[in-house]
């Protein structure tokens, strides 16, 4: 808007000057003039002069800047009754004047000064999409996301340089991340997939990559870390007391069975306290192609007991039977699952930090299942049908507390940690077996397993000089696992019991372990050379008892009980280890590292006193060119010299530890031998492509192998011992992002071969084993919000043995194809998945499986509350057959087709806040 003073005073000035001037002025369509500083009375260079048509701020006819003499010339005003000229200059008042047709003379404009400074401005939204500063890369998500993301994992998949595998594991430039931080604090440890798959995308504004990540600030100057970590920065609207979503939901299955769910994402982030609660509870289940726990929590939960399918099929559903079309088949699973975890960090003053985490998982369910087999022995054919009522439960509880102290000068840090975890699981299986549609037998299996772990650790880190740090750590743990199994004749078809014999097996396997470890570490950095020396002493006491009774029941009623085993073993293991690393830093991203790691292990029990030496040497060279390519070469040599130990130390199967250096259980050595390992990784960051090549040559290996894994068939229940084998393998993968069609392509292949001697049925037999796999994956953004994924895995193996003069060859192959399509838009989400899997082999399992699952989810907002509904449809078809070979007697068994027709259920839920 034009202010009166902008026109009036200068207008008078202009008019006055025009009266007595000659030469300059408007000639034709040219407007000329000069601009001067009214205070100094000197010409003003660089003033902006704009000519507007008709009204101010309308069409610009011409513009210019005044020259050194303060002169200007404009054109284009011809034919216009009135034009407007505006004069601007930094530090001067703006002047706007009308120019009327017919006005002649030189324009002399005097501009008065102004004290109003130019307004400074910073645009918050104009942030760099990717900002690199030293070892930190920050992604501004506004440039990468498009509102179709639901969880943090969906965001990470779209960020260049970051990849997410199928189980949720995140890698950055090919390196697995050490952890996922929330505003700088590690709330999840290694179980970060719980966070990436459950924290909603809308809460995050930035993602940071920390390279050469070192969590402990005392180690800042001496760390040889080349780890990476991700840090999530919350949206600035977060951080106010409680935020999050609770989604209760309910529905019904097609046969009226009730369905319910309660999922939660709740945060409390304040200056001194962070808390996250994640919960997934309900009995809605999922199609067979996806595992509920994997989808929600990635690989964080390692218990096989919680990994199962949760398929619901109406009872009494008939389908085509191979043998007996009259027999009803039903397959029902009514599992209820509760999963809840709380993570919190609280700062108690400047120096103390307390972290408390808890996890509770409970699953209880029941499966009804039938199958039938037909098998032939010589010229006879037998039919066997089994109905199974399978009740199962599983419980995991886990709590840990950390208390950390940091000195004010950040030169000393004390970390204490205590963890308690407990699991319990059980199966109660009732079986009814029908033979040739007449004879019936009842049998049952009852098994239960529990475990509990206690773990404590104290770690002291202290700086001793400019570039020297000492660390001392004490760890203690106790692990108990009792197991009980009771089964009756569940594995043997009736025809074996021609005399009417039945047997019941009672077995108790109890394991107890106590472990204590003391270690000290010295770290030193001198310029580009770093040195790390670690000395540790560890003592493990393990007790293992196996009490097994087999009871024979002769049909006549006489009972004869056989005690199979009644053993108690105690093993004391002492380990003395030395680890020396040295690293030469070439650039900020390139280094050469040498590792030297000899370790002495001594096992003692009442019968034996065995000692082993396990040295390991490794050289790693890593070169990276900024923003372009990265090469990493690894060459390692490992050697384990020990008389073979049959002592199996158990890993805790139920959870991953929160911290990488905490492992409450110790896995003992199951092999001896030497191996040479070579790997090479190439990565082109600019083109998002990477390649990996690995080769291993092992010689003089002796190891235990599970019989089923080795032969892909059940030969015996005892493991197989492979002696003095030579093994070599190589494999590689390549991945590239094909920009024209925005497709991620991954190719992975590997081949392994080993030759040695295997102990099979008590004999040492030469054995050759080969296996090959090829995997191809396409992942493409087909359109806005639409992603397609196609994966195919082919495997082939061959085993050649020479047992008692019998030249036995077996081979098998399998192929699995998975297809999924996901459409995600604001308020909509649809997922379609399908799997086709076949496997065949000589004397091996032959199976064919096809399944599909479709889910559609709709979210709407009413009165600022989010509501959602989802529809799920599942289909499954499975058939399998397998051969059993037992001491020269062969019989074949085939399982009929198991079909699950379309199954549908609905749920509805809403967000509370």
């Amino acid at each position: 808007m034009i202010k009166p003073e902008e026109i009036f005073i200068p207008l008078l000035t202009v008019l006055f000057l025009l009266l007595g001037t000659q030469g300059w002025g408007q000639t034709g369509d040219h407007i000329r003039g000069v601009v001067i500083d009214s205070n100094e009375q000197i010409p003003l260079q660089g003033a902006s002069v704009m000519l507007f048509a008709d009204t101010v701020n309308s069409e610009v006819i011409d513009f210019t800047f005044t020259n050194q003499m303060g002169e200007f010339e404009l054109k284009g005003a011809e034919g216009r009754d009135t034009s407007w000229i505006r004069f601007r200059h930094i530090g001067f008042q703006t002047i706007t004047i009308p120019i009327h047709r017919g006005l002649h003379g030189e324009l002399i404009i005097e501009m008065g000064r102004t004290v109003s400074p130019l307004r400074e401005v910073v645009i918050e939204s104009a942030r760099l999409p990717i900002l690199r500063k030293g070892d930190t890369t920050t992604y501004d998500l506004g440039s990468f996301i498009d509102s179709t993301e639901y969880t943090v994992e969906d965001i990470l998949k779209k960020l260049p340089g970051i990849e997410v595998s199928e189980d949720g594991k995140v890698t950055v430039y090919g390196k697995p991340i050490e952890g996922l931080l929330i505003e700088g604090d590690d709330l999840f440890g290694r179980t970060y997939t719980i966070g990436t798959r459950n924290i909603r995308a809308e809460y995050i504004s930035h993602v940071q990559i920390f390279e050469n990540y070192e969590e402990n600030p005392v180690l800042k100057n001496v760390s040889m870390s080349n780890s990476v970590a991700l840090n999530l920065i919350l949206d600035e609207n977060m951080g106010m007391e409680f935020q999050g979503t609770i989604e209760p939901g309910g529905g019904a299955g097609v046969k009226g069975e009730g369905k319910w769910q309660l999922n939660s994402n709740i945060f409390s982030i304040t200056g001194g306290h962070k808390m996250i609660y994640l919960g997934s509870n309900g009995n809605t289940g999922r199609g067979f192609t996806m595992n509920e726990m994997d989808l929600r929590y990635g690989g964080s939960i390692g218990n096989q007991g919680v990994r199962d399918n949760n398929i619901v099929v109406p009872r009494h559903q008939h389908f085509t039977r191979l043998v007996n079309p009259e027999l009803p088949v039903w397959y029902v699973d009514n599992s209820r699952r509760l999963f809840n975890t709380v993570r919190s960090i609280t700062r108690l003053g400047e120096q103390w930090r307390l972290s408390v985490n808890g996890l509770l998982h409970n699953k209880k369910g029941q499966q009804f299942r039938t199958n039938e087999r037909n098998f032939s022995l010589r010229d006879d054919t037998y039919f066997l049908q089994t109905e199974q009522d399978h009740k199962h439960f599983n419980w995991i509880g886990d709590t840990d507390v950390h208390l950390d102290f940091m000195s004010n000068n950040q030169k000393t840090r004390l970390e204490s940690y205590f963890k308690w975890a407990s699991t319990s699981s059980g199966n109660n299986i009732g079986l009814r077996q029908f033979e040739n549609n007449s004879a019936m037998e009842l049998s049952s299996i009852i098994e239960s397993e529990k475990s509990s772990e206690y773990f404590g650790s104290i770690l002291l880190t202290s700086q001793a000089g400019e570039n020297q740090v000492f660390q001392f750590q004490l760890k203690w743990s106790r692990y108990i696992r009792p197991q009980h199994l009771q089964g009756r004749n569940f594995d043997f078809p009736l025809y074996f019991n021609q005399q009417g014999n039945f047997s019941t097996l009672h077995q108790s396997l109890d394991y107890y372990q106590r472990r204590i470890e003391a270690s000290s570490k010295y770290l030193y950095q001198l310029g580009k050379i770093g040195l790390r020396v670690n000395l540790k002493f560890e003592q493990i006491q393990s007790e293992f008892s196996n009490k097994s009774h087999l009871t024979d029941e002769i049909q006549s009623g006489n009972i004869d009980s056989i005690r199979l085993r009644n053993t108690n073993e105690t093993v004391n293991t002492r380990i003395l280890g030395l680890n020396v690393d040295t690293r030469l830093k070439l650039t900020s991203k390139s280094h050469i590292q040498l590792n030297f790691k000899p370790e002495i292990v001594k096992h003692q029990n009442r019968d034996t006193d065995r000692k082993s030496v396990k040295p390991s040497y490794q050289a790693i060279a890593s070169f990276q060119k900024e923003l372009t390519t990265r090469w990493e070469l690894n060459l390692g040599f490992n050697s384990t010299k020990q008389p073979l130990s049959a002592y199996m130390h158990f890993l805790s199967p139920f959870f991953s530890s929160l911290y990488s250096d905490v492992n409450p259980s110790y896995q003992g050595y199951q092999f001896e031998g030497q191996s040479l390992n070579f790997s090479m990784i190439y990565r082109n960051v600019l083109q998002s492509s990477s390649g990996q090549f690995r080769a291993t040559y092992a010689f003089g290996e002796s190891r235990w192998s599970n019989a089923y894994d080795f032969f892909r068939t059940i030969v015996s229940s005892d493991p197989i011992y492979i002696k003095n084998s030579t093994r070599w393998s190589f494999g590689g993968s390549y991945q590239w992002f094909y920009t024209p069609i925005k497709t991620n392509i991954r190719l992975n292949s590997g081949y392994a071969e080993s030759r040695g001697q295997s102990v099979i049925i008590g004999e040492l037999s030469p054995t050759k084993h080969q296996n090959f796999h090829l995997r191809l994956l396409f992942e493409s953004r087909l359109a806005h919000g639409l992603t397609g994924r196609l994966a195919n895995t082919f495997r082939h193996f061959k085993v050649h043995t020479d047992v008692s003069g019998f030249n036995r060859r077996s081979s098998g192959k399998s192929n699995r194809t998975d297809l999924s399509l996901t459409y995600s838009e604001r308020g909509w989400r649809m997922v379609l998945t399908g799997t086709y899997h076949t496997a065949t082999g000589s004397g091996l399992t032959s199976s064919r499986l096809f399944g599909s699952h479709f889910k559609i989810n709709r979210q709407i907002t009413i009165a600022k509350k989010d509501f959602s509904m989802s529809l799920n449809v599942t289909n499954l078809t499975n058939s399998s057959s397998f051969d059993i070979i037992s001491t020269g007697t062969e019989f074949y068994s085939r399982t009929g087709t198991r079909a699950v027709p379309l199954f549908i259920y609905l749920t509805a839920s809403f967000t509370i806040f």
Partner: protein
């Protein structure tokens, strides 16, 4: 009147700056994103400093040191890609009073110092449109003009009445806050505008390099072409989209074309 004119003439001969407020230096930050063949070396934060009749534009995130990407293909015919660094951030200096633009280029400098070139300030024929929008609280108008083989849409604000902008874009009656090439190869977004209070800061042309003329660069490149051809190899011009200015370097192409025509004429 005569006394007025005489005074102005004397003042300009004495080189007295007639601009007021020249001691205040202003800083404008841009975010640059390009899809040119040279790579992302121009990308990131770019800063424009201006005061009176002088301006200096710097690419803050331009590599400070020379880096080597590596060779590809047949070892006997490998193409090596080098990202040349520049300690001064490939600056562009303009002096309105002398109508001169002094800028640096990494092209053709091989492993040696970068070249410093001096030319007239490019004249861009802008067309101003009535479209308006707000950028950082400043009302901005749209202008379209051609520069360096690309058509740019530039949003400028009269509220900061200076003819400067990102890189070599200039000549509008207000500071250019945003500019985009229509072929989507070059983008500049406005980030901040503020006054600098550092008394030591000076807007000056680049000095770390070799001052050459365009003719001298051509001479150097033709000489290297002879050397390459003597070994059975040759040089080619970079891709037209190698620089922000499209098809800026056609030295080899033009020379070979002239050479071919002369040979044809002789025949």
């Amino acid at each position: 009147m005569l006394s007025h004119s005489l005074f102005f003439l004397i003042a300009s001969l004495l080189g007295i700056s007639l601009l007021a407020q020249e001691s205040i230096i202003y800083q404008v930050e841009y975010r640059c994103e390009t899809k040119i063949r040279k790579g992302k070396s121009h990308d990131g934060v770019n800063t424009l400093y201006f005061s009176g009749d002088r301006s200096l534009y710097i690419h803050n995130d331009f590599p400070k040191e020379t880096k080597f990407i590596g060779g590809k293909g047949d070892p006997n015919r490998q193409t090596f890609h080098v990202i040349k660094g520049d300690s001064e951030g490939i600056p562009v200096f303009m002096n309105l009073s002398t109508d001169s633009m002094i800028y640096k280029t990494v092209y053709g400098s091989g492993s040696g110092p970068n070249f410093i070139l001096s030319t007239q300030i490019p004249q861009i024929n802008w067309e101003i449109y009535p479209s308006e929008k707000d950028i950082g609280g400043y009302p901005a108008r749209l202008a379209v003009g051609e520069f360096g083989g690309r058509t740019y849409e530039a949003w400028f604000t009269e509220g900061i009445p200076v003819p400067y902008g990102p890189f070599m874009l200039n000549g509008l009656p207000g500071l250019i806050l945003e500019a985009f090439s229509r072929d989507e190869k070059v983008h500049y977004w406005f980030m901040s505008f503020k006054q600098i209070t550092d008394p030591e800061f000076d807007i000056a042309p680049p000095t770390d390099g070799i001052k050459v003329t365009m003719e001298q660069i051509e001479e150097i490149r033709i000489k290297s072409l002879y050397q390459a051809e003597a070994r059975g190899a040759t040089h080619n011009d970079p891709h037209p989209d190698w620089e922000i200015e499209k098809s800026k370097w056609t030295i080899f192409g033009d020379y070979k074309k002239n050479r071919r025509e002369k040979r044809n004429q002789r025949r």
